[in-house]
């Protein structure tokens, strides 16, 4: 009898606790549902509608997606996005890895934190301003052209801005900083014992790096590379400022649908395509991406 009494008190307490806990988690859940899940579902539905003049017509078909695959101007956007993103990711990793390595291995321990803070300092320029400042360097009357003209390397200014190269440079600049950070934190966690063991077993410096260090730092590289891919493929600002109107990427084409044409259904369909590209990249990297929880 007494046992049953305490038991029911306990469940009553548990019920009260549970109600309270729901109360605490509800605001965050409701916010996410109202302003993320619902808009996203609405957008996914809208990608099946079509635009007629200024109005949206609620038909339900895949015409927008069919148009995406058949119209070269649209499909080329995805191709450009993928090409630029892959080029940027590869160059950034190749530039950042040696930098992170040198900071972790060659720079004295007490200066490493300083070296790292310095390496990511330009991170703190405003995002729009960062692309603009590359324009100062790359434009027709910019720093590089003036320098090359003055030392007689070229006789006519080069067209550096408004090109795919400019977009890639702007992106690489940003992601080298990000990747240096993720790869460095991976490198310093590496116990020196692994390398000593490899050396004891007769491996030379290159073999140690290729068979021991690189595989052990691969998760860090892949996490950084995936982050680079996601942020790069979804960005509108850098290609718009530095790439100009040549070789448009997917986000630029999405923004074009919103602006002049007010074709929301098409913009929605293109966004879904963008999301699918990110999902495919995620699945490709998934086995290296372990997000650890405390």
């Amino acid at each position: 009898m007494a046992d049953a009494g305490t038991l029911s008190t306990a469940t009553a307490l548990e019920d009260a606790d549970r109600r309270k806990a729901w109360g605490f988690v509800a605001p965050a859940l409701l916010w996410t549902i109202a302003f993320f899940v619902v808009p996203f579902a609405f957008m996914a539905a809208m990608s099946l509608w079509k635009r007629e003049g200024r109005d949206l017509v609620r038909v339900w078909n895949f015409d927008n997606y069919a148009r995406f695959f058949s119209e070269n101007a649209l499909f080329q956007g995805l191709v450009n996005s993928l090409e630029i993103t892959v080029i940027v990711t590869v160059i950034s990793v190749l530039l950042a890895y040696p930098l992170a390595w040198i900071i972790a291995e060659r720079v004295p321990k007490r200066l490493q934190r300083m070296a790292l803070i310095l390496a990511i300092l330009p991170f703190w320029t405003s995002y729009v301003v960062r692309s603009y400042s590359w324009l100062l360097v790359l434009s027709k009357n910019g720093v590089i052209n003036q320098l090359f003209l003055n030392i007689g390397l070229i006789s006519e200014p080069l067209e550096l801005a408004s090109t795919r190269t400019a977009t890639v440079i702007g992106f690489v600049h940003f992601f080298v900083m990000l990747l240096t950070l993720t790869i460095y934190s991976n490198l310093i966690q590496l116990s020196p014992n692994y390398r000593r063991a490899a050396a004891d077993l007769g491996a030379n410096a290159f073999q140690t790096f290729w068979h021991v260090v690189l595989p052990l730092t691969l998760p860090g590289i892949m996490t950084g590379a995936f982050l680079t891919f996601v942020l790069c493929i979804g960005d509108y600002v850098t290609p718009q400022i530095l790439g100009g109107n040549n070789e448009l990427v997917l986000p630029q084409i999405i923004m074009l649908q919103l602006g002049r044409r007010a074709d929301f259904p098409m913009a929605a369909a293109l966004s879904i395509v963008l999301m699918l590209a990110v999902t495919v990249a995620y699945l490709a990297c998934a086995r290296w991406l372990k997000i650890e929880r405390a």
């Binding site: 988690v25 996410t32 993320f36």
Partner: protein
């Protein structure tokens, strides 16, 4: 020996080159903000503060600066508050479907800002909600809430449970426990979440661009300045924002992170 020296020289040369690449645009930006002339490109005509005066005299730019501060602070406070409550509930109570709830709260992190902005814009249009700083703030909470939740949830270790239990035995209710026990214990990660949110909101462009109308934030105002091409005034506002961020970073490094290191 020779090989070691050449390897060392090579490393330092590489370090110098990449640092030069990283700093080149910022150096040019800051240098030509002092340009005595109408174009922020070489040759450098001489030192002048006229463009900084122009920045402070620009009403629209100053209004955008104020708007950015309000949006960043309000949206970050909401994100931290909602993130903290959710983290507390999910770390301290057994709720059905808690893995699903965590997944849902983190989900916006995996979606491009452009897509979040587009979804909100379509919905606001369909519901005839006028665009304003409030819609921008709503969007910024959507991107910052997952971050705040993840940071605070990760720091809610089980070793804190007993201290909270002691407080409860002494008669504190949930809100008292949270405000007087849990929050002070987690203060470093709560502050980290808050400052990260402020930084992200302050610098965010695409959501602010698509979800605002008449009142805009600073990145959107700078964006519209870009239409006039290269202009030393853009250099000046860019340099100011950069220096302010570095100052905040230094203060954080010296106060907040310096203190946690000693603990």
């Amino acid at each position: 020996m020779l090989r070691q020296i050449s390897a060392s020289v090579l490393s330092w040369a590489y370090l110098a080159l990449v640092y030069a690449f990283i700093f080149l645009p910022v150096a040019v930006l800051v240098l030509f903000s002092f340009q005595d002339g109408r174009l922020p490109v070489p040759p450098f005509n001489g030192f002048s503060l006229q463009w900084y005066e122009a920045v402070f005299a620009d009403r629209k730019l100053m209004a955008a600066l104020g708007n950015s501060m309000v949006v960043a602070l309000v949206s970050s406070v909401i994100s931290v508050l909602l993130g903290f409550l959710a983290a507390y509930a999910l770390a301290r109570y057994k709720l059905p479907g808690s893995a699903l709830q965590r997944g849902l709260l983190i989900a916006p992190m995996t979606v491009s800002y452009l897509i979040i902005a587009l979804g909100l814009l379509s919905l606001m249009n369909a519901l005839h909600v006028p665009l304003s700083l409030m819609t921008v703030g709503i969007g910024h909470v959507v991107i910052n809430l997952p971050l705040c939740f993840a940071i605070i949830y990760a720091s809610m270790g089980d070793h804190h449970i007993n201290i909270e239990r002691a407080a409860r035995d002494l008669g504190a209710n949930d809100f008292k426990v949270m405000a007087l026990v849990t929050a002070p214990m987690l203060m470093p990660s709560i502050l980290a979440a808050f400052f990260l949110s402020v930084t992200f909101s302050w610098d965010e462009f695409i959501i602010a661009f698509l979800l605002s109308r008449f009142d805009v934030t600073l990145p959107v105002e700078i964006w519209s300045m870009l239409r006039s091409g290269l202009n030393p005034k853009t250099n000046a506002i860019g340099s100011l924002v950069f220096l302010a961020s570095v100052a905040v970073l230094l203060i954080l490094e010296l106060s907040l992170f310096g203190r946690t290191k000693k603990q």
